[in-house]
């Protein structure tokens, strides 16, 4: 896998970050309603959350008709999934550190 240049990577990583905020926000609401601590997630739930970010990212990619464009840039599906998931992993890690400190 060849990581794309920053000019290409940045908008997709930003999108991944926005999608993580959205899905994490929804998860917080759902877990809060279920009276569970929304900031202490198990490994399975965290992996499910990251997978969901990738899936929603791909849906967004198809919604914007971007597959041909990205392929012409030499960006594979695996690279795209990586671009979406990196901000989510970073965000989740930051959140866990903040919860631990607090």
């Amino acid at each position: 896998m060849r990581f794309p240049r920053l000019m290409i990577a940045r908008p997709y990583m930003l999108r991944g970050f926005r999608l993580w905020i959205l899905t994490r926000g929804l998860l917080v609401i759902i877990l809060a309603l279920a009276e569970t601590d929304p900031f202490k997630l198990g490994v399975t739930v965290t992996l499910a959350l990251l997978s969901l970010v990738i899936v929603v990212g791909f849906i967004d990619t198809y919604r914007h008709h971007e597959r041909a464009f990205l392929s012409n840039l030499g960006v594979s599906s695996i690279t795209l999934a990586t671009l979406y998931v990196i901000p989510a992993v970073a965000g989740e890690a930051t959140l866990q550190v903040l919860v631990a400190v607090a």
Binding site: R5, P11, H64, H65, F69, S71, N72, L73
Partner: protein, 238 residues
């Protein structure tokens, strides 16, 4: 000259229905090759298979003298192929300029403003693709090709729904690309426009392809005139 891209003896079925049985596509540097054929005959499918956007049931794909076991568009694109699909190429999320800059940045391509000037989209370059008319969008997509400087271009129906003035700009750009050494393959139904641009004509019919040769030779081909060109071919023959 040796073809840079060959899709040989390609077969493809959809849901048990055979669309292509033994079709061949060749992209030769310095040539504009046009693939004609009626709707649903498999032209777009052949192009998609040749560029790795779709897998074939049978056949061989060669790119730059290498036989590819499982061609993928993103890999071929990194090696110099550009695929212009029949629907929109650009993302709706970013401006045309942003996307042209992405291509320039990725492939050390030509100047974006120069390409925009060439294709007459200077006034539209800071808009998003869905804010452009069909003709403007098609010209912007061709600007992407100019910026990219590919070694091989596969364009699926690039003239569809565009006015004659835009078609002229597109033809001159495609011919210019070919003269600079790019291998260009186009599909479409705009017979006079495509024959003007073509160095070589292929005909896709009944699941296979026929190499008809020069545009003049194609117009003399009896079955091609009878089954594809119809009245237009008769008029030209007279």
């Amino acid at each position: 000259m040796r073809p840079v891209l060959v899709a040989d003896s390609v077969g493809k079925s959809f849901g048990g229905q055979r669309v292509l049985s033994s079709a061949t596509l060749r992209a030769v540097p310095g040539q504009v090759r046009v693939l004609f054929g009626t709707n649903g005959v498999g032209k777009s499918t052949l192009l998609k298979i040749a560029c790795g956007a779709m897998s074939a049931d049978s056949g061989v794909i060669q790119f730059r003298n290498r036989v590819l076991q499982s061609p993928r568009l993103h890999k071929l694109a990194a090696e110099g192929l550009f695929y212009l699909p029949d629907h929109d190429l650009f993302s709706r999320a970013f401006t045309v300029r942003h996307q042209l800059e992405m291509i320039r940045c990725r492939f050390d391509g030509r100047d974006v403003d120069e390409a925009a000037q060439r294709l007459g989209i200077v006034d539209h370059i800071d808009k998003r693709p869905h804010q452009l008319s069909g003709g403007e969008r098609r010209r912007a997509e061709l600007a992407a090709v100019v910026v990219r400087r590919p070694i091989c271009l596969l364009a699926d129906e690039p003239y569809r729904g565009i006015p004659p003035l835009d078609a002229e700009v597109m033809t001159s750009t495609l011919v210019e690309l070919a003269r600079s050494g790019v291998a260009v393959v186009i599909t479409g139904h705009e017979v006079p426009t495509l024959l003007d641009a073509a160095d070589h004509v292929s005909w896709c019919t009944s699941g296979t392809t026929y190499e008809l040769g020069s545009p003049y030779a194609a117009q003399q081909h009896h079955a091609f005139r009878r089954d594809y060109l119809g009245m237009w071919g008769k008029a030209k023959a007279v």
